[in-house]
Symmetry: C2
Subunit: 179 residues, 2 copies
């Protein structure tokens, strides 16, 4: 085991540190919520320091690549001047999709901490498990359900707001149906 | 079927058009080769017109996100002002990795044309098949082995050059072993 890999492994036995950094990812997710985006936030940590933050801006920035994890990985690559993020831990509020899980493996991030799982779209154990797939030349250690309740509540709030908004739009377009 | 989806489906029965656009992807791959990068190129086509080009710049740009497909998807999103690339065909010289296959599904690209397969890293049928996975809310039509020989030869040339370069470096560092 290399010296750098010890750094991220330390967090493995320090649940408080994981909660601390997940709180920072939740702060990022709230920024997405303020924009009306699905509230997903991410931070990338090395040596117990946050080097990159990201939140979902897919609709705002009109780009497929606007997911929280991709935004954070882009910033971390720029900060370290390297496409390999080999001694980092990535914290994300929602289980990554196939693109983001793929980017995490491509970046060779050794450890991933997930807030809440996404049964209908997640690729870290729900629909498939790209992060822990031993067919690839890299696989991650994954810790799940850190501050799960807070992360899931953010998602519920978003979908509740979305339903309300759609209901109001529907009423505005069809007033005769809603006297 | 929508009118736009007919546009990409037309190519399905037009192998000459597929070869024409794969040649353009090969031109992109050659740009990567000139930079000493793994030679992978990509174009994104709509209405039989190329809207975005990309080639592998991962080492040059020091970013995990420097793959050919990601670069092309980023440009296409910017050009169309939309994260959905729903009526496009993506041409790529090498079978996509897990990240790029994921990005293609996220972009809802309906049709993907692949030059040559990548048995050790590909995620469009080799190690797994993210493009044609019906667990997701989108899956692609895939055509494989278009101008396969040309695409595979580019890869062979790259690895041959890499082996030569490593051999010369080794000789330079250990001259006593190579009198």
């Amino acid at each position: 085991m290399t010296e750098t890999s010890n750094i991220y492994r330390n967090n493995k036995n320090n649940p408080e540190l994981d909660e601390k950094f997940m709180k920072e990812a939740i702060k990022q997710a709230k920024k997405a919520l303020e924009l009306g985006e699905t509230p997903i936030g991410c931070v990338i940590v090395r040596d117990n320091k946050i080097y990159a933050r990201g939140y979902n801006r897919r609709n705002t920035d009109h780009t497929t690549l606007g997911h929280a994890e991709i935004n954070a990985i882009k910033k971390a690559s720029a900060k370290f001047g390297d496409w390999r993020l080999e001694d980092c831990t990535l914290y994300v509020t929602l289980e990554p999709c196939q693109m983001c899980a793929g980017a995490i493996v491509q970046a060779r991030i050794p450890r991933v901490v997930i807030g809440t799982m996404s049964p209908k779209s997640g690729c870290a154990g729900s629909l498939m498990n790209i992060l822990e797939c031993h067919l690839f030349n890299h696989s991650c250690e994954v810790r799940r359900n850190v501050l799960q309740k807070e992360c899931a509540e953010l998602m519920s709030l978003f979908f509740k707001n979305l339903r309300m908004s759609l209901k109001h739009q529907n009423q505005a377009h069809n007033p005769q149906l809603h006297p």
